[in-house]
Amino acid sequence: MAQPATPLTIDAQSAEDPVLSHKPENRVWKKFRHHRSAMLGGILVAFFILLAVFAPLLPIPDPLATDWGAVRKAPSMAHWLGTDDLGRDVLSRLIWGAQASLLAGVVSVAIAVSLGVPLGILAGYFGGWTDAVISRCTEALLAAPFLILAIALAAFLGPSLTNAMIAIGISATPVFVRLTRGQVLSVAAEDYVDSARAIGLPTHRILSRYIFPNVLPPVLVQATLTVATAIIAEASLSFLGLGQQPPAPSWGSMLNTAKNFLTQAPWMALWPGIAIFLVVLGFNLLGDGLRDALDPREQ
C-alpha cells in the first residue's frame, strides 16, 4: 500500500470485511432461502395468493353459474374438479373461495395486530395501572377458547364475511397483546432505550422509534402463524353459516354443502379440504421459517 495512513486502512478493512458489511436483511433472506420447508411454505402461500388475485382473469366458468344438466358430476375434462349440487364448477368456486379465505386471514390478523401491538406496548412500557387493566382484559378474553369466542362475536355481529373478519380479529388480539407486552419488557430494559431517554427524546418518540421496531420480529412471526389459524376460523364460521354468505363461494360453506353428499359426491368435500390443508400448512411452514431466520441465536 502506498499510503500507510491509519484511519484510511481501518475504513478500507471494514468495507471489505464480509461480516461487517453484511446487512441484517440480507442475512435473514439468506437463511430463509436455505430453509427448505420455509421455501415450500412460501411457494404454497404465493400459489394461493396468485390464484386469488388472478381469479377474474383465469379461463374458468362463473362460480355462481348453476347448470341443472351437470349436478354433482365427478371430475372430468369439462369440470376438472367436478361440480356441486347446483351444477357449479368446483374448481372455479375453489379459486374464488381462496379470495375469501386469504382476505379473511390477512384482514383479521391486521385487525388483531393493529389492536394488540399498541395495547401491548402501552402495557409493557408504562406498567402499573395501565398494565393491570390491559392485562386483566386480555386474560379475560384468553379464558374463552379462540374459536368459541369468534363464533360468539360473529353471531353477535351478524353473519357476513366482514363481521367474521372483525370477530376473528378481536379473538386473536389477546395473543398479540401478550406477546408484545413481553417483548416490550425486555426491549425497554435495553441500554439504547436509556440512552434515548438520556438524549431527551419524548416518550412517544421512544415508543415509536426505539420500542416498536425492536419488538416487531416476533410479532411478524406470530402474525404469519395466526393467518393460518384465522383461515381455519373463517372456514369454520362459513361452515356454520356465520361467514361468507351463499351463493358467494367460500371453502367453509363449500364444505358445509358437501357434508350432505359425502357418499354421492365426495369430491365436493375433498377439494376444499385439501385447499384449506395446503394453505394452512403453507402459512405454518412460512412462519416457522421466518422464526428461524429472524432468530439471531441460530446462526
Partner: protein, 340 residues
Amino acid sequence: MQRLKLVHSDSSPNDVLLEVSDFSLRFKGAQKDLISHVSFSVKAGQTVCIVGESGCGKSVTSLAMMGLLPEGAAEIHGGGITFDGRHYDLKDQKALREFRGSRMTMIFQEPMTSLNPSFRIGDQIAEAVQCHGAHTAEEARARALAMLVRVGIPAPEKRMREYPHQLSGGMRQRVMIAMALVNDPALLIADEPTTALDVTIQAQILDLIRDLQAETNMGTIMITHDLGVVAEIADTVAVMYAGTVVEAGPAEQIFNDPQHPYTIGLMSSIPKLTGPRGRLATVPGMVPTAENMPDGCRFATRCPFAQDICKTDPKPQSFGNGHVAACHFAPLDTHFEACA
C-alpha cells in the same frame, strides 16, 4: 462543510454548572438511605471523577443527576441537585426533558448495546438534534455529519447510512459521544465510557473526550472504577463508598496524600510496574447491601482501623484546597503517630 460551534458564550470558567448538595436517596419503603449526604459540584471546563467499586452508588447518583431514576422506585430523602442554578424536581419529567440531551447529556458504559439496532447511525444522531429545537431534516443531518467528523469517524458520510452492528465497539462509542454532544451540552456525564473497550481504544476515547472538552469548555463527570483513567483526566475526585462520598478533593492531592482508609486501600490495589513484587493489596470483604448498612461510618465493617467511635457518623475533615475526608481518624498519619 458546516463547522460546529460548541463554545458556550454564557459560561465563564468559574460558573458552577451542577451542584449536588447533601443529597440522600432511598428506595421506597427502605429503612436506610441508598445514597447518603452526597455533595459535590462541577464547574464549566472541569472534570470530576466519581470513583468507587461496583455497587457503591456511582451509577444511581448519575441517573439521579439525569433525572432518569425509575419513577416511583426511589425518592429523594434530603438535599437536592441544582443545575444551571435551577433546583430540580425528579417528578417533573417535562422540565427535565428540556435540558436532558441539550444542556446535560450522558454516555453509557456499553457502546455495543446503547445504539438502536433498527436505525441508521445518521438518523439516530439527527433525531437527537431534531428533538431539541426546530431544525429541518437536512439541517439535522448536516449537524450529525459535522459531529461525526469531529469525533474522528473515517468516511462519515458512509457511516451515516450504516447500522450499529456494522461498527466496531470503539466506533460505536464515538457515535455515542457524537450523539451526546451534538446539541452542545454544558455538562457531560460519562458512566464508565471506556470499561467495555480494549486498552488502545480506551486511550483514544479518553483523548477524544478531553479534546472536545477543551474545545467546548463543558463540565464532565466521569464515573469510573479505573484509577488509571482518573489519574489521566481528573481535576477533582470524589471517592464513593456504599452510597457516601468518603473523600473528595483535587486529584493530585487525593493521589499523593489520600486520607481515608478506603482511598488508601484503593490506591494500594493498583498494580505497579516498579517496586517490590508480591500479592496485590486488596480491601477485604464486600460492600454491605442496602439492608445491612451499618450505622455510623459505612466503611467500618471493612476498615483495618475501625473502633467503637466508628459507630457514629464521622465529621468531614478538611485538608485545604477543598480536600475533605469523612473519617474519625483523619489525618491518619498524625493520628496514629500520636497513638503509637
